[in-house]
């Protein structure tokens, strides 16, 4: 059926190749976004969160750690948009600063697991043989474990703190990237240009650095973007249980945990931080989906 209908890349690709003037690129972006408004929403959310992280001191009306015993557990009002907590701290400011802890943790987790995982995976793929098999078996075992429990156990073993929980989640997520990177490496290894460079005597590290890595990165980046959303959730969950950020850090999961005891009468305490988690994760997932859809050649033509 696809032979009958001309697919987009033929026409649009030609358009992109001809003149990449700024206005043309913007028009193309606009065209893409019209077909997928949800992705734009996601991008807008991420932009908002980034602003929150960078400009926190500017945006937050109060000092998030400032205690005020006369203003305890106040409902949302014009003065305190999200209300106050049990020691009178402004929740709106705490939520804004919380972005730093929550998103920063998520970003670090993905960065660590991606870097380590890709390195191990590519290495395993290039070296091959028994080393490769051994590494993959190890990854299989780790993957067979329920991730959250492992993360919890690790975090408990290392001591409850934001850093330790970050480390635990990062370690647990490494095998996924190892698998992905290895798969990419294996298929790239068979490509002619890699074989050619081997005939010229290139060392495995050279091949890895210059041939494999640059070409394998794109699906890995997509995976990382999609992961971001999930990791935000796990980090918050660990904090909620008490294994992550410790008070008085205003991490979102910890805030929900604190707010839980006051839920029935002071609903605002737990609601807003949780909403922040939800919206941030949604933003990451929407953008990740959008990127994946854009890169999927089948969907492009429709």
């Amino acid at each position: 059926m696809s032979a009958v209908i001309p697919t987009e890349p033929a026409a649009a690709g030609a358009a992109m190749r001809r003149t990449k003037s700024v206005s043309e690129r913007l028009r193309y972006l606009w065209y893409l976004s019209r077909r997928s408004p949800l992705t734009l929403v996601g991008a807008a959310i991420i932009l908002l969160v980034l602003i929150m992280i960078i400009a926190a001191p500017v945006i937050a009306p109060y000092n998030p750690d400032k205690v005020s015993l006369t203003a305890r557990l106040l409902p949302p009002s014009a003065v305190h948009w999200f209300g106050t907590d049990e020691v009178g701290r402004d929740l709106f400011s705490r939520v804004i600063y919380g972005a730093r802890a929550s998103c920063g943790a998520a970003f670090m987790i993905v960065l660590i697991s991606m870097s380590v995982g890709v390195l191990i995976g590519c290495f395993s793929g290039v070296v091959g043989g028994r080393v490769d098999t051994a590494i993959m078996r190890l990854m299989d075992v780790v993957l067979a474990l329920p991730a959250l429990v492992l993360a919890m156990a690790l975090a408990a073993a290392l001591g409850p703190s934001l850093f330790n929980s970050m480390l635990a989640v990062a370690i647990v997520r490494i095998p996924a990237y190892v698998r992905l990177a290895r798969g990419q490496t294996l298929s790239l290894r068979e490509q002619v240009f890699v074989k050619a460079s081997r005939t010229f005597g290139a060392s495995p590290f050279y091949i890895l650095r210059w041939h494999i890595l640059p070409n394998a990165m794109s699906p890995i980046i997509v995976q990382a973007t999609l992961d971001l959303g999930g990791v935000v959730l796990i980090a918050a969950a660990l904090s909620f249980i008490g294994l992550g950020a410790q008070p008085p850090t205003s991490e979102w999961g910890a805030l929900v945990s604190s707010g839980r005891s006051y839920m029935l009468d002071q609903w605002w305490y737990a609601t807003f931080p949780g909403l922040a988690i939800l919206i941030t994760a949604m933003g990451c997932n929407l953008v990740g989906d959008g990127i994946r859809d854009m890169l999927d050649p089948r969907l492009r033509g429709r």
Binding site: M1, A3, V4, I5, P6, E8, A11, A12, A14, A15, Y28, Y31, R302
Partner: protein, 340 residues
């Protein structure tokens, strides 16, 4: 199901001046331009042309099988046994498809559902259109498989598609197409994906069954040899337009349009030994920004100024019509006037 107003000499299919485009980011691709095709009852008509010339698009658009929203009809009409298919919605079309007309497609390998047995796929179609019971439907299916020269139809009906060869699958599909006795069969390159030896068998099957039951057939192919044996009349398409049309013998033995002539000269079987194979210089026009005037003109040895400015209409006797200024069609006689 036939409407009382069966005008036009009781045509099976009457496509009249159909124009269609595919909107894309960079503009609209003019896939069809004023295509008119008529198929009478019990006629076998062929549509030939290169890949991408619009042969499939024509019939798919006429039967509403193009993906919705991806195309736009900019003019013309289609009447299928009197039904105006362009105006019908999907559920009306579903009533008509398979019963009034059927389609056979090119690639049989994946055209049958891999998780459903052959027998059930056939009886599903039969029971959809005919008021029969399951045992009767099975009987009909068995008969039609036998008609397609499939040995042991009982056993085949219990099989899954992956257990059959490509040729067998295509025979099952043809059986399915004929199973509800439609008035028209659209065969879109049904043998292109098959071995040469199987091709001949399949073509015979279609021809025999069609002649026996008085079914009209539209046979689409880029293989001139195949249509020459099968079809009563021939349409030659180029870049979304009909350039020549007439009785098969006439068109093949005395082609009028420069494109048809060039096409026939390309065929290896028509070239004497030791003679050079000819290719048509140039390339198919970009339908995103089609040339003014005749589409073939950039590659035509006989092109003149008129060809570059005005597009020639189809004109001529009933037995053979050509769209070419150099074949004696005067501009004043054309009712359609000039077109960009």
């Amino acid at each position: 199901m036939m409407t009382g107003a069966t005008e036009l000499r009781g045509q099976a299919l009457a496509i009249h001046n159909l124009s269609l485009e595919f909107p894309t980011f960079s503009g609209a691709i003019k896939a069809l331009d004023n295509v008119s095709i008529n198929v009478g009852k019990a006629e076998i008509v062929g549509i030939v042309g290169e890949s991408g010339c619009g042969k499939s698009v024509t019939t798919m658009a006429a039967t509403g099988l193009l993906p919705r929203g991806r195309y736009r009809i900019t003019g013309g009409s289609v009447r299928l046994f009197g039904h105006s298919t362009l105006a019908m919605d999907d559920s009306q079309l579903q009533d008509v498809r398979g019963k009034v007309f059927s389609t056979i497609f090119q690639e049989p390998m994946n055209a049958l559902n891999p998780t459903i047995r052959i027998g059930k796929q056939l009886t599903d179609v039969i029971m959809r259109h005919e008021e029969t019971s399951l045992p009767d439907a099975r009987r009909i299916a068995r008969d039609i498989l036998a008609d397609m020269l499939i040995g042991e139809p009982e056993r085949v009906m219990k099989l899954y598609p992956f257990e059959l060869s490509g040729g067998m699958r295509q025979r099952v599909l043809i059986a399915m197409a004929f199973s509800c006795n439609p008035g028209l069969i659209i065969a879109d390159e049904p043998t292109t994906a098959l071995d040469v030896t199987v091709q001949a068998v399949i073509l015979r099957l279609i021809q025999n069954r069609a002649r026996r039951t008085g079914t009209s057939v539209i046979f689409i192919s880029h293989n001139v040899a195949v249509v020459s044996q099968l079809c009563d009349r021939l349409y030659v398409m180029y870049a979304g337009r009909i350039v020549e049309h007439g009785a098969t013998r006439t068109v093949l033995e005395a082609p009028q349009h420069p494109y048809t002539q060039a096409l026939l000269r390309c065929l290896p079987e028509r070239v004497a030994p030791k003679q050079e194979l000819e290719a048509i210089p140039g390339a198919v026009p970009n339908l995103l920004h089609p040339p003014a005037g005749c589409y073939f003109q950039p590659r035509c040895k006989e092109a003149v100024d008129l060809c570059r400015s005005q597009s020639p209409p189809l004109a001529g006797a009933d037995s053979q019509q050509v769209a070419c200024w150099r074949r004696g069609v005067a501009p004043e006689l054309s009712e359609q006037g000039s077109r960009k």
